[in-house]
Symmetry: C2
Subunit: 157 residues, 2 copies
């Protein structure tokens, strides 16, 4: 499921220029570059949560803040980079994830901790969340691309 | 995973007015109403494909065409309805899905047919696709709501 989600993300961003990656639908919107930076940051946080079985430290949250929170911080951090920058980052993080997965048992998937909504959450759900968040943003990337092309063609209502 | 995806969709559309459901970001965009109609139509098609183990007939494709293809057909079909209309439809379809799931074995999940990319696809993947498509559009719904609120506040760039 993670590979499938990623393949659709890669397909959605294939060939995007820096202008497209930095395009803002409105002044509070996320650019495609910001969403790609977000995907990598979310995955890093879940590596800490599920592989190291702990919450991120303040330093880690600070280091990943632009990607996690986006907003003005994210807009400043993810700007002016070519597509290869984001793809390299996504690939590096994913390789670390899969290397670690190979060392873990299926039982690990079902290890639970306190999680959302005062319920228990297992590692399977936590990694499902990583990919479902990516799918959510892939949908937005497709939409941002369409709005960009409409604006460029001067046909926006 | 299907229940989680649906709960996030319901949260995203909670309290939306007909004006919000029919709001068009641009002239070729999908409204939130169209996306909700699409979710129900996709689920119906996958009921046919996976429960009846066959492709939809021309009549079925015709009946579900507005929801599946969207575009002008979808824009005409999903317009002017209150939120309850879409939620009722989504719930009816989902109840049928879950009733059928209760009669099926785990082996059924792994039954394969020829599927995308010249590969085999099992029923687990096909239903994963139903929910990943919903997550994709949930991301878009969140974005459309934000653009709507920006336009209403007169602050769109």
């Amino acid at each position: 499921m993670m590979n499938y989600a990623r393949s659709t993300t890669l397909e959605a961003v294939e060939g995007l220029t820096i202008e497209e990656l930095d395009f803002l639908v409105h002044d509070e919107a996320n650019t495609i570059g910001m969403l790609l930076g977000h995907m990598a940051a979310v995955e890093k946080i879940y590596q800490i949560i599920t592989f190291e079985r702990r919450n991120p430290t303040e330093e880690e949250e600070e280091a990943l803040g632009a990607g996690l929170e986006l907003g003005e911080k994210g807009k400043a951090a993810f700007k002016g980079f070519p597509l290869e920058y984001y793809l390299g980052e996504l690939q590096d993080v994913r390789e670390n994830t899969f290397q670690k997965f190979h060392t873990l048992t299926d039982e690990w998937l079902f290890e639970q901790t306190n999680w959302w909504w005062n319920e228990q959450g297992n590692n399977y759900f936590k990694w499902f969340h990583v990919l479902e968040d990516e799918l959510n943003h892939r949908g937005q990337i497709r939409m941002i691309k369409k709005i960009y092309s409409k604006e460029k063609s001067g046909l926006v209502k």
